[in-house]
Symmetry: C2
Subunit: 339 residues, 2 copies
DNA sequence: CTGAAAGCGCTTACAG
DNA sequence: CTGAAAGCGCTTACAG
């Protein structure tokens, strides 16, 4: 019932090999034959069977993504749709599809990955996050299977990755606050085991040091990527006698909690304290006052990851291992000048 | 280099057919043989080649999703990650993966779908939305290809679909507001061509009629699924001499705009006007005051769509065509009693 | 420029 | 309970 290459060949009066060559735009095929075969394919509604093609070519024209486990979903969920859109859009343009699966445990995840790789289901893998001691990265490297990491790995600096310069971004934010006259600047950070937390903390410290400003450990809070995390931190921070006049917050959702906490304690942003956060998800525009936030180019991270991986697969050569997506400070109304 | 069924067969001293039967748990295979073969497979790190399997079995063990075009992304984006998580989780449990692609135009979308179906890449399709006159639905029906629609189609009532009872949900919300003493209730709706908008409007009208309450056309606004849409509507609504004491809003993001508009005009929620919205996305908890909203079970919609489609594919029989996911009114602080 | 043939890794009637 | 053989729909050296 399915129209095959043989059916087309018979009707066109050529051999299956010729039809195959027409499909793949083989150079040594006469324009006349090509045109005729193409017309017949159109008439008969021919569509190549991908399984057969994949079986012989050892290519699937598919990229794979493994969904992270629930435990890590909170942070990434807000980015997820933008990541995926970026990845799929670019992949589709290059004639690739995206295959997704999930694993309930780390063991499940590894099995899913093995199935993808060993079963020939994908030609490359996109990792949506990295944690210290990431088994995925080690496995993929040992298999020499093409992959790209969105983010940065502490252990491996020779893998293909797409990331922001989070050190620089945090440095830029800190410097911006300093330029407004702030000298007591605090930091509400995320989980310390995440590379992104480490990088942002580093940029913050660098800027303070460069401008000779004090770094006080009680101005720094490490929490989760949760609203409550920011909310809870405020009773402590705002109760300090030498409390900061500005806070850098590692994520918009956390900043939302921070904002809520500050407001409930009877303080006002930005008059009593300035706020600058990261990621620029939709919520940051919606708060009162609208939050200044660092746009990290989520769509572009996904898009570029896809593009970079495909280039690595197809051309098998890399211009560079680490691609940096530029960030932008989105200045809104949550920061005030102090004297 | 790849370990094949032949390699395993040779090492186990059996035929390839036997190995194949062990893999598929064929009943008539001796436990002894099975155990031995399984052990060898483990030892050799055998993984079945999915392309070969798919080529002969005509099954891909994959479900397909086509990403909607940018024009329609706004509304769905906020649901997207939950939908996908629900779909993937259930699919993975049944041994299926999810294949995604996108199309820039409707033509692209149709081509992508054809590629999926005719190329044997997927065994079923999940449609994330429906619009009036949906070419996808017509095509899939004409091909008799398994698919499920998340939502409801006006034109086809015999297709597999997973949806909320949006008429009932809007009815419930309206009745709740009436029970608080409201008699002048307005409605901020979404695009009228969407079935979901039509259904919610219908439930609202039914409740008003049942309780003999007035339906005023100037209390009804039709807009987009955008914050601005709600924001802009407020200058008109709040300026009415007989303005409503409660508003039902079709989406949390729109409700956020409504809330902002009301507040900027110097009014207060819920003292001056009550607000009840739909969808219960994360933002609804975060507003001041927290918004009452209808939880529509986004994850469950995705999960059930996946489950229903797989049952249709595997067992080829349906218990019912239209599955309803229950909704829940999440009562927060945006509605007040009036006398 | 084109064809005949082999083969990709699996499944499944058909025999025994 | 197990094996030999054919075949799924394609690609690609090898010939000509």
């Amino acid at each position: 019932m399915q129209v095959t290459i043989k059916d087309v060949a018979k009707k066109a009066g050529v051999s299956p090999s010729t039809v195959s060559r027409v499909i793949s735009n083989h150079p040594r095929i006469s324009p006349k034959t090509s045109a005729k075969v193409k017309q017949i394919m159109e008439e008969m509604g021919y569509h190549p069977n991908l399984a057969a093609k994949s079986l012989v070519s050892k290519k699937s024209n598919t990229l794979g993504v493994i969904l992270h486990r629930p435990a890590e979903e909170l942070f990434l969920n807000l980015f997820f749709s933008e990541f995926i859109r970026g990845i799929v859009t670019q992949a589709t343009r290059s004639g690739y599809d995206l295959l997704m699966t999930s694993g309930a445990t780390e063991k499940d995840e590894m099995e899913a990955m093995t199935r993808f790789i060993k079963g020939g289901r994908v030609d490359g893998i996109i990792l949506l996050s990295s944690r210290n001691g990431d088994g995925m990265v080690n496995y993929l490297r040992s298999q020499q299977f093409p992959f790209v990491l969105i983010g940065r790995s502490n252990e491996h600096d020779d893998i293909l990755s797409v990331d922001n310069d989070n050190v620089q971004a945090a440095y830029d934010v800190t410097k911006y606050l300093i330029s407004l006259g702030h000298t007591r600047i605090g930091f509400v950070s995320g989980p310390p085991q995440l590379v992104v937390s480490q990088d942002r903390m580093e940029g913050y410290k660098q800027a303070l040091q460069e401008f000779g400003l004090p770094l006080r450990s009680h101005w720094i809070v490490e929490g989760e990527f949760l609203q409550e995390s920011g909310y809870r931190a405020m009773s402590m921070i705002m109760g300090l006698s030498d409390r900061p006049t500005a806070l850098i917050v590692t994520d918009d959702l956390v900043a939302y909690g921070v904002l809520k906490g500050i407001t409930e304690l009877g303080f006002h942003v930005p008059d009593d304290i300035s706020l600058f956060s990261f990621n620029n998800i939709s919520i940051s525009e919606l708060t009162t006052p609208p939050l200044s936030s660092v746009d990290i180019g989520i769509y572009q991270l996904g898009y570029t990851a896809s593009q970079t991986l495909l280039r690595d697969i197809q051309e098998n050569h890399r211009e560079q291992n680490r691609i940096i997506i530029p960030h932008r400070l989105m200045i809104r109304q949550s920061c005030a000048r102090v004297d």
